[in-house]
Symmetry: C2
Subunit: 139 residues, 2 copies
Amino acid sequence: MDEGCVFCGIVAGTVAADVVLDDDVAVAFLDRSPVFKGHVLVVPRVHVVTLTDLATESIGPFFERVQRIARAVPSALDAHGTFVANNNIVSQSVAHLHVHVVPRRKRDGLRGFFWPREKYAAGEAARYADAIRTSLRNA
Amino acid sequence: MDEGCVFCGIVAGTVAADVVLDDDVAVAFLDRSPVFKGHVLVVPRVHVVTLTDLATESIGPFFERVQRIARAVPSALDAHGTFVANNNIVSQSVAHLHVHVVPRRKRDGLRGFFWPREKYAAGEAARYADAIRTSLRNA
């Protein structure tokens, strides 16, 4: 537990939240400013900052909870699907790993601006792939 | 393997891609239209459509690969963090589970429009949470 971390406060029960799941691995609760209503945040009980900080043995149990939420949210809210996302460092508003599960509906207006895209010049993609492969080998 | 699925083709090696990881669990390759260059898609070798279709025993191994990519991408590209996301059904361009790992940098321009937000009326959040809890109990 990290003193001053609002999500650790929710995990500990000292900060109020609309909790939907609370077990030995994770706590899930409504985002107070939802992309769409019913937008849930899933956080591990343990205080880690990003996805890369989560212990290997915790990855399966944690994402099993994310999967359960991704199944329950559209079922509960009569939505068509979900957007499941996590910001690591950049755009991360709270420094405690949290996975967003956002209910999505066809024609909910989110698509058009959601995925701006770039283009690779000739040969450029291969160089990016090579850099990532090298980093994976050295990790 | 699903006939006609382009990601199954990449897994099988019959469709070209800039592959960065290829093992018994997952294949990871560059998105051809990156949000930012170095944007990787991680797919399970097995053909499943959404996160909720992934077998429980595969969740840990699959997201361990996602974590490895989320560690390697910013390291390889001198980025500050990552955006890790998956669209289920709505906005899902290919019907084979794929997790996006997008390199992020401070002031890369993505934040402002990225997370439009709604507001709950008084008492409304509690009703949403209750519906999701009910769905979790019945899942």
